[in-house]
Symmetry: C2
Subunit: 437 residues, 2 copies
């Protein structure tokens, strides 16, 4: 049986999960693939630290060159995270003729093109299934079983933290701040939750999916991105009244040579499979011209699910390696399509605003919206809840107004909403969310 020697950079949560996913299933892997895979060296800057896992001390090294320059190691698994020094290490591994497997979405979204080109140049492989949606085998499926499809769209719930928060807000009527605190206490959210709750993590993953699905290079910073911090319990209740659930949706779609993409809280019809993806689970919904609608659902994070994806890539690379066919003709990342990126594109939008409850206010608002070319599909005015005198000055009570706009560009929506506030038709705009079909 061929021995495949793997070097691993990093032994944090995902490193431990990868180590476990290998060693608890080593017999099955050997039985079904004929491969004897060993993680022989692990970069660990703090070998004295207890990692809560039984790893022979002699596998640890503090020197990355011990791994990158070891001629016996054929696969380097990068699990440090962050753009640097991870990118530099991966580049050096590829240049040294080693295949690279990584779970690093930020590094692949930022430097995937350079790394993919290096891999091709050195006839080795670069794999990153774990970088998008954790344990869900979406990248493998797109580049194997689904190759006989052109895809028109992808919609993903790609961040477990925000989906957990939104599910808890919806199902238990809690508000955003309380659920976030709870999620932090449970370890589902980081102390600094910015990358999750502002949609940055999801935008990195969407950028990778866009290059795979459409063959287009769109950096995460080019993708219009909005987080979930502005969503109120009122929005969740209104969405429910309209037959929708709210999810942080990462979407991209192609039409007539143009690709539109965004990450933003979106209303999803409650009968749609994505609407029922609850708590920390992730899902990716794609539509191909042969396979039609397809959804993958599973754990998008966590040591073992992510480790499962990392080891799936390691086995895939090792199987090609053993066959002396390491150079893969299928590029996972493509940037050569004849398509144009148009930002967010046009969508339906849900808007909640607060206005003073004075006669004719609705008419004034709809006139201004109409002047901006916005068609209103639904308009709801709820009875006032407060007296409007919270600052002691007597005035008309405040009422929430909810609109759903027909398909329109987001920039037009923003201009029109600014106009409403400037003209004092509206006290404030509380929430703007996309409405998905």
């Amino acid at each position: 049986m061929e021995k495949i020697k793997v070097g691993m950079l990093g032994i944090g949560n995902i490193g431990r999960g990868t180590y476990q996913a290998l060693y608890m299933n080593q017999k099955k892997i050997a039985d079904t693939t004929g491969l004897d895979i060993e993680i022989v060296k692990i970069l660990n800057r703090h070998p004295e630290k207890d990692r809560g896992i039984d790893i022979p001390k002699e596998k640890y090294t503090k020197d990355v060159d011990d791994i990158l320059n070891d001629p016996e190691i054929s696969i380097v698994v990068e699990l440090i995270g962050g753009i640097e020094p991870a990118t530099t290490y991966m580049a050096r591994a590829l240049e040294n003729g080693k295949s690279v497997v990584t779970a690093n979405k930020a590094a692949i979204a930022a430097n995937g093109k350079m790394l993919a080109e290096l891999a091709q140049k050195h006839h080795v492989l670069l794999r990153f299934e774990a970088a998008v949606a954790g344990g869900i085998p979406i990248l493998t499926s797109l580049t194997t079983a689904l190759l006989s499809n052109e895809f028109s769209s992808v919609h993903g719930i790609l961040n477990g933290t925000t989906n957990y928060i939104l599910t808890q807000m919806e199902e238990n009527g809690k508000n955003y701040a309380d659920v976030l605190r709870e999620a932090q206490a449970k370890g589902f959210a980081e102390a600094d939750p910015t990358a999750d709750v502002e949609g940055i993590d999801a935008a990195n993953k969407l950028s990778i999916l866009i290059s795979l699905i459409f063959g287009l290079g769109v950096g995460p910073k080019q993708i219009p991105t909005q987080g979930i911090t502005q969503i109120g319990s009122e929005d969740i209740a209104f969405a429910r009244d309209f037959g929708y659930r709210i999810k942080l949706l990462a979407s991209a779609r192609e039409e007539n040579g143009e690709v539109a993409a965004s990450v933003e809280p979106s209303l999803i019809p409650e009968s749609h499979p994505l609407a029922n993806v609850r708590n920390e689970f992730n899902a990716v919904f794609i539509t191909g011209n042969a396979v039609d609608n397809l959804m993958f659902y599973g754990r998008g994070a966590g040591p073992l699910p992510t480790g499962s994806a990392v080891m799936g890539d390691v086995i895939g690379v090792a199987r090609k390696w053993e066959k002396d066919s390491a150079y893969d003709i299928v590029p996972q990342l493509r940037y050569d399509a004849d398509l144009r990126f148009i930002g967010e594109g046009s969508n339906k939008y849900y808007v909640r605003m607060t206005a003073e409850d004075i006669p004719g206010v609705m008419g004034k608002i709809t006139t201004i919206l109409g002047a901006h070319g916005i068609s209103i599909e639904t308009a709801i005015q709820r009875p006032a809840k407060n007296s409007g005198s919270e600052d002691g000055v007597s005035r008309a009570p405040l009422v929430p107004l909810i609109f759903i706009f027909a398909n329109v560009d987001k920039t037009i929506v923003s201009d029109a909403l600014d106009d409403l506030v400037e003209n004092k038709c509206v006290r404030s705009v509380e929430t703007v969310m996309r409405v998905a079909d």
Copy 2:
């Protein structure tokens, strides 16, 4: 660019879908894989028949040997369906050194072991992604990205016809017979729906999944199988009251070296992702020791989705072929696990019966159930709806009784229910369904 010549047996619905899936995406396939795939010959017994697709007449042959003996053809795609002559044709193709791709669940469930051994012997490949859940890439994922997992269970909605019928019964309050007629008119159900509604089709697919996931040979006829014909609107309503939806579930699970499996209508908690799989869609839910819960959702039938899966296999085989590494070390089918098949195993069960509404009837029933060792989790007696005098003889009115039994073997349930009817405690047993966790 390497030219891959494919011969196709059969040009029915799936044949047409496969042809279309290739030719509408031929440029993308070539661009991303470097493969120029052509379907060069098609077995068509009735070339005069209009197939509703533009295929050059010279590709047709009435003689299967034209394909099986053509040295230029490296891949044979079998889309005739049925066990014979499909099995014989596939065996001959493998013996002639051609890889085989098929969508034929019945032939693979019946003769997969023999065909897999032939493929290994002749160093060619046998692939059948399309045989289970149509366009959903479950077999590819299990044999690639998910290799670093031992799976403890699989639960599938593997038949679109029955799922369509159950969804329509549930959402529109229609009865079984009416929905079946509707489905037949729409082409979702065959004129003879037996294989679908009795669970035979799902059992074939489950048999294939069991060999892949557990490495155990369990023929479809060994799998305890029950169809959906006995389900009444009352059951759907009661299930809903309890917080469940009814699906025809194909399940297998391993515990302590024993594998239990069944195909039967089952109550699924409404928050479970499988509960929200509607109409003709299929889904496969699996649990692995690293990846945890994972669900694949998509179209389990239809020409193009099935054609997508067939072409995915053809491309996969062609990529290996081109690399001169056609013999695949990963057997998709395994029959060598040290596990024991125990039939249905023990489950919770939902039982609806009809009894005469006389004092003490519930006590008599629960005593007999208790004597059989059945623990009752829930028992509900609804008010009588009729007078019990439909045959003119005056007697106590009939009432529906609904029970959920705690985990118990199905044989014990059957014995106990027979006992109840023999002892005239119960007029009739209407429905028995499994309750899934």
